[in-house]
């Protein structure tokens, strides 16, 4: 793994910043939520206190403490924003709640819903009665059997008046009532109370409109089947008081609207959790909120988990949920809930309206979390963006830094690799060594190491010469002693040992001579004079001599046309050739050929001496021309100190040329090339 990748991985740890940002945003949200709860609860409490001081403006009948009972015929009257059309359909009431089933004991089912505008009370009755029993003309209830809906209203003068709706022709009909005229009961229409009878396959719908002036606190609604004993609804007999009407308190909405802040909805409920009044709307547009949708993806990262919050479905008429329940028991409570059709997050805060110390109702404040989310999103997204930017910067900087570092190390590595050149020379200067940091220290360490290596190499290079020089005197003592001993007139067996000792000294002598060869060549080079001479002539003459000198080897010679003059020392070139040929002869297998070839390439002569011997390993290639480099596997009678090719190099360099070795492209041997510049 390269340094760059490593540092990139390190840089990626800065991704913890956005993560921390998310955590921070979440905590911020929690804190905001807490403070929002408190403030909303405080508002609810304030409103509740204000309202408890004027209960008559809040409650229809502050003294009526009995609980809402649908079985007893109690009816909630929805406030209708517009006048609905009398057509038998309630779609235009715009009330999401379904009509409530009417109490029944006969298995005859009907459903009832009430609504009111400022002038009228509307009733909607849905009766499941597939058989239509029409009202004969002028027929009275009890006289004939026909389907009808009876409505008993508590008259203003105190006596209840019962109206009934029935028809023989569905459509717009007036309410009818039985009047006694001169002791004769007959049916009379009350045209101020209008209804629409809509016959359907499952039964009939009745939508009735009653002026509010007819309506007092209580009423009875009954649906009666014409053909059987089926009836439903709380009839006056079972519910003598009749059903109470629970409606919103008129004027309360406008009163509440004075308390409302933007984005909140205030609702007052009675002890039955039924709405008495409401004001305000949840949706509030914040300035600069247009990019709301673009922000939502952050919520995926930073939003608090809301899925475990309670789902509270508020029906249009009453409220549910813990906060409302607590408030109606006298304890203010705030709660986050998921509500509405698309489960938006809502904060509900409910505070009880206490009258004489008893909770008579509650103020419910609702606030959408949108505002909060929007605040959080803005803070969060900014934080997220900033930290992401910081991370990106860190990654880029780290990457750049890593590239720089790895480039420097790479340069140092390359320099270290090539510090010992193919010619065996040691380059003592390293890149980066002037840097003050650890890489610079490394480079300086390399330089020190190379300097020591260089000293060592220099020492080794001169060691041969020194040894050969220093050993010469003792060797001479041995040999001259042997010479003297020999002339003492020894016996034959004694002479035998003398001869052996002499052979030993001769070998020692040749070893010393070989060891000192490089030093001598270096010295000769210093004193050599340069002359111009024909390389072709030299080669031709020398190769002819080699053919005689090495009768077992096969030599081929290729020369260019004409004379090839170079400037230098012909004796040294001959010595160079000697070394190359000796080397080639040593390595060339029996029967192999030694090729000597001279070429003109651009401004140089290239002398190539090739043999069919074993290839040179890649790792050895660069070291062949170094001093004291010897890699001969086999041993022969001649001492080898790895100086031959070093001498070749010395001589080539004296002539301003180079020496190189290469394996033949076809793998069939090795070629040593000496490049010498033309005159």
């Amino acid at each position: 793994m390269s340094i760059r990748l490593q540092l990139l991985a390190v840089a990626l740890t800065t991704l913890v910043l956005p993560w921390a940002g998310c955590q921070y945003a979440r905590e911020l949200e929690t804190a905001l939520r807490g403070s929002q709860e408190e403030s909303l609860l405080a508002s609810a409490g304030t409103i509740a206190n204000a309202l408890s001081a004027q209960p008559q403006r809040v409650f229809r009948d502050p003294g009526d403490l009995a609980a809402f009972s649908a079985a007893a015929g109690d009816l909630y009257v929805y406030p209708l924003p517009t006048q609905p059309l009398l057509d038998g359909y309630r779609q235009d009431w715009n009330i999401s709640a379904s009509p409530a089933p009417m109490p029944t004991s006969t298995g005859y089912h009907a459903r009832l819903q009430a609504g009111s505008t400022e002038r009228y009370l509307y009733l909607y009755v849905e009766v499941d009665d597939a058989h239509f029993d029409a009202q004969p003309n002028g027929a009275r209830p009890g006289q004939n059997r026909f389907d009808r809906v009876e409505l008993t209203l508590q008259g203003s003068e105190g006596a209840p008046i019962t109206y009934f709706f029935a028809t023989n022709a569905p459509g717009l009909i007036p309410a009818q009532l039985v009047v006694k005229d001169d002791g004769v009961e007959h049916v009379a229409p009350e045209s101020r109370i209008q209804a629409f009878w809509l016959q359907t396959s499952a039964g009939y719908h009745l939508e009735a409109r009653i002026p509010l002036s007819f309506v007092a606190q209580r009423l009875w609604v009954e649906a009666i089947d014409g053909s059987g004993n089926g009836r439903c609804g709380a009839d006056p007999a079972t519910s003598p008081q009749g059903g109470r009407l629970f409606s919103t308190t008129s004027g309360l909405d406008s009163l509440l609207s004075t308390f409302v802040r933007e984005g909140t909805r205030v609702t007052v409920i009675d002890a039955n959790a039924l709405k008495l009044g409401t004001a305000g709307s949840l949706r509030a547009s914040l300035p600069g909120d247009a990019d709301d949708s673009a922000l939502t993806w952050y919520r995926y990262f930073i939003g608090a988990d809301t899925s475990n919050m309670p789902i509270v479905a508020n029906s249009p008429d009453h409220f549910g949920g813990d906060s409302v329940r607590d408030a109606l028991q006298g304890h203010p409570h705030a709660q986050w809930v998921q509500g509405g059709g698309n489960l938006d997050l809502l904060l509900t805060a409910a505070a009880p309206i206490l009258i004489d110390g008893q909770p008579r109702g509650a103020v419910v404040l609702e606030q959408s979390a949108d505002q909060l989310l929007s605040l959080r999103d803005r803070a969060g997204s900014r934080l997220f963006n900033l930290t992401l930017l910081a991370t990106a910067c860190a990654v880029v900087i780290m990457l750049g830094f890593a590239t720089w570092i790895s480039m420097r190390i790479g340069r140092l590595g390359a320099a270290a690799d090539s510090a010992v050149g193919s010619d065996g020379r040691i380059r003592l200067k390293m890149p980066e060594s002037s840097s003050a940091d650890e890489i610079g220290a490394l480079a300086r360490g390399f330089e020190r190491l190379l300097a020591r290596l260089n000293e060592h190499t220099q020492y080794l290079r001169t060691l041969g010469g020194k040894l050969s020089h220093e050993l010469r005197t003792p060797l001479t003592i041995v040999r001259s002693s042997l010479d003297n001993l020999e002339s003492e007139g020894l016996r034959d067996d004694q002479l035998r040992y003398i001869t052996r000792a002499r052979e030993g000294t001769a070998r020692l002598q040749s070893i010393l001579s070989a060891l000192g060869a490089a030093a001598r060549v270096e010295e000769i080079i210093k004193q050599s004079e340069r002359v111009s001479f024909d390389l072709c002539e030299l080669l031709a003459s020398a190769v002819a001599a080699y053919r005689d000198g090495f009768p077992d080897a096969r030599f081929t010679l290729e020369l260019p046309e004409g004379a090839s003059f170079v400037r230098g020392a012909p004796d040294l070139i001959a010595q160079l050739l000697d070394k190359l040929i000796e080397n080639a002869v040593d390595f060339c297998p029996p029967g192999g050929a030694i090729s000597v070839r001279l070429e003109r390439i651009q401004t140089n002569y290239v002398l190539q001496v090739g043999n069919d011997g074993p290839l040179i390993g890649e790792t050895l290639m660069g070291h062949l021309f170094e001093s004291l480099f010897e890699q001969r596997a086999g041993r022969d009678d001649k001492p080898h100190f790895g100086l031959g090719l070093y001498i070749v190099r010395l001589i080539a360099e004296f002539h301003g040329g180079t020496a190189a070795a290469a394996n033949r492209a076809d793998g069939g041997g090795v070629v040593f090339s000496i490049t010498l510049p033309m005159i």
């Binding site: 001479t476 002339s487 001599a545 001959a574």
Partner: protein, 250 residues
């Protein structure tokens, strides 16, 4: 028993003064005692009277009193790295004819050139064997004797402008003397005797009674050429046959 006396100071004295009148006297100036004694013993066996000296001071004292017939000098003498050169110079100042041989472990070209320029007759490295050394000493004495006798034309080898006197070991080119060291003389002599024949290095070494490596032969040849070229700039009678050796061309 070699006729050598040693007083322990590195200075040998003749045991019998009678002999000292009869025999050629050779002075060996060499700071290595073992080597000095070996040389002395070998040469004494050949019938010479040997005096040995360990340093330049002792040697010079003795030379001022009496000159030897031949001096063999090492270059580095005890603490004087070039004491032999100084000694050679002083000795040459005392006598122009005294044969002087440098015998040294130092084999650099520079040392050889310096030694021969100071007037030494030969420059030998210590690789030389004792018989070879004796042969040289004998050759030098023979030359001195020959120089004292009248000319003997039979010994003179003539090759064009070259004339080589094998007895007196004198070489001339166009009748101008060319001063050669003993080794150089023998090399020239060997080459000139059979003109056109290639003499390889071994043959030249045998002729010169030396064991030398190839490079030293090369530098001897180079020196010989230069000496002839000082006399005649167009001299090119010694030809290199690369890979083989050298030949004399007329």
């Amino acid at each position: 028993m070699p006729i050598v006396a040693n007083d322990g100071n590195g200075c040998g004295q003749a045991a019998f003064s009678y002999h000292s009148f009869m025999k050629k006297q050779i002075a060996i100036v060499e700071d290595e005692p073992a080597l000095r004694e070996n040389y002395a013993a070998a040469l004494a066996r050949h019938g010479y009277f040997i005096k040995t000296y360990g340093n330049r001071r002792l040697a010079m004292q003795a030379f001022n009193a009496r000159l030897p017939d031949l001096a063999i000098i090492d270059i580095s003498l005890e603490d004087e790295a070039e004491g032999g050169f100084d000694l050679c110079r002083d000795l040459r100042a005392l006598s122009a004819e005294l044969p002087i041989i440098f015998l040294t472990a130092r084999d650099s070209e520079l040392d050889a050139v310096s030694g021969l320029r100071l007037g030494a007759d030969d420059f030998l490295t210590k690789d030389v064997s004792l018989p070879h050394l004796a042969a040289r000493v004998a050759a030098l004495f023979r030359r001195i004797d020959a120089l004292r006798r009248p000319d003997n034309a039979a010994e003179i080898l003539r090759r064009g402008a070259l004339s080589v006197d094998g007895e007196k070991m004198q070489t001339t080119w166009n009748n101008i003397p060319v001063t050669l060291s003993l080794t150089e003389f023998w090399i020239v002599h060997a080459l000139a005797r059979n003109p056109g024949h290639v003499k390889n290095r071994q043959q030249l070494m045998d002729a010169a009674n030396v064991v030398l490596d190839d490079n030293t032969i090369t530098s001897h040849i180079k020196r010989v050429r230069r000496k002839f070229q000082q006399v005649d700039a167009s001299f090119d009678a010694i030809q290199t046959v690369y890979g083989m050796g050298y030949r004399w061309v007329e």
